[in-house]
Symmetry: C2
Subunit: 298 residues, 2 copies
């Protein structure tokens, strides 16, 4: 751990992400003040050891982390900057393109704001799974503006480092296209598959087993946050869904028509899937801890 | 373990399922003879301790297990019965309706054949994951004909018991509709998601993480066997795919239109998914070992 310009922080939003960030920072010796529009949530996070509820009259913190749902980020950021809660700001929302553009349109101070996204999986409702190790070894995307000063970027980089995450810099557009395919489409598909289980009686559900549970695990996420997330990445998600619908529709037609070539036609799709599976497996093996300190634009 | 009428068996098809069945039977003291259209495969399974390669002139075995891909089962069954390889026959294919009907049409001896399906997840290519514990605690569906004699059913029930699996009796139609939703659709969806990863570069794939790996895990299965499996359950799979395509298409339209109500509309779908996820989680918790000796029709 290097010397960082990060001694005090404000975390706004005490859900699983904000609470986990606050726990990691508190554990690293940073003085953390907690804000939530529900004071009880801030008190509960404080009781977990995530910091102390914010009180007025404090000097600006080194860093303010906006950990609200995506659609609330720009409003909260604007207000926090107007109230001078900190010197540098970041957010943790799972979408970046609309937020980055809206922050500029709204007149937020871009010199002090670095959009960010720690990728720790979809959030279950509540703070039950919060913990200081939630981001350890996980990618944490930063989408600095071209005009972002080094000092602001260094402060947010210190946050990523204190959380033990792997910094990845990229453009908001590249981030959103990637997470649409890697996270948002799989989430939507998991929800559709899980919703379809209603037509299977409980006796037969037991035939599903652990493989099915793994496939639909994402469907356990908070549906309100999920609806917000998908809408804030509407274009890339709609494109990804459209492609999946096209592939599935073609498979359904092949099955309906029942030609002798059906097994081979389906086999070709399944083989492309096997290759994508192999590529993912290889990439995951290649992601070693030595990546943890690099932040090259990808 | 009760006294069983199962002292000798022939296993036809030395892939992961046949080899695992043979290893479990051999481990339970059953004398197992192995057949594969590729003699090298039978020799390799024998080298793993799964039994000995079959040789002509043996007396009929107590049980013959046909562990070939679904489309080959009826031909292999018919030939094996014509050659009197055993007294009782079963198969392990992942589809049951077409096979059960075709066996009758083809003139197989239905008095000595009990269609079956051990549900141990989709098969990776090869025998690498074969093992005697592959079916321990897993459901093993039997689809006896109305005319199946008790003696034949008892012999196949002994196989299920020796493999440590949980017997479930049901009709071929109920089986196929259930596995279409619980297994075949998730498999096809995993393949489509994994195939879509090709459009994401290797640098960005690392953002996917363990959740994505779990969702697309099934896409690593053997595509040739997979194409055969889906085609042999074409009707129910096409129905399940059609329903999923309808839900996904509606979500894509909601995202494209971008109305203010989009987060709520998507949230309603996601909430149905969360409920299906919760129902599955509850069912999996309810599946306790005490179910292992019951075989009531569900």
């Amino acid at each position: 751990m290097t010397t960082t310009p990060l001694r005090t922080a404000v975390v706004i939003g005490c859900g699983i992400t904000g609470t986990s960030v606050a726990l990691a920072l508190t554990g690293a010796g940073v003085e953390v003040a907690l804000i939530d529009r529900d004071p009880k949530a801030a008190a509960e996070a404080a009781a977990l050891g995530a910091g102390t509820p914010w009180t007025p009259g404090r000097p600006p913190a080194d860093l303010v982390v906006v950990a609200t749902p995506p659609s609330a980020v720009v409003d909260v950021l604007y207000t926090a900057q107007a109230r001078a809660l900190g010197h540098v700001y970041t957010d943790t929302a799972g979408t970046k393109d609309i937020i980055s553009a809206d922050a500029e349109l709204r007149g937020c101070d871009l010199k002090g704001y670095v959009p960010g996204h720690p990728l720790a999986g979809l959030d279950a409702p509540g703070r039950a799974a919060a913990g200081p190790g939630r981001f350890t070894g996980r990618p944490w995307v930063l989408c600095p503006y071209e005009t972002t000063p080094d000092r602001a970027l260094e402060t947010v980089a210190a946050l990523v480092e204190l959380c033990g995450a792997v910094r990845r810099d990229m453009t908001p557009e590249a981030h959103d296209r990637a997470v649409a395919v890697l996270s948002h489409l799989p989430y939507l598909v998991a929800a559709v598959l899980a919703a379809g289980l209603a037509e299977v009686g409980p006796e037969l559900l037991a035939l599903g087993g652990d493989e099915l549970a793994a496939v639909v695990a994402a469907a356990g996420a908070d549906p309100v946050l999920g609806g917000d997330l998908l809408t804030q990445n509407a274009g890339p998600v709609a494109d990804a869904v459209g492609r999946a619908v096209g592939e599935l529709g073609a498979a359904a037609r092949t099955l309906h028509e029942g030609a002798d070539t059906a097994p081979v036609e389906l086999g070709l799709l399944l083989e492309r899937g096997r290759q994508g599976h192999a590529a993912l497996a290889q990439t995951c093996e290649l992601r070693t801890p030595q990546d943890a300190r690099t932040g090259g634009r990808v």
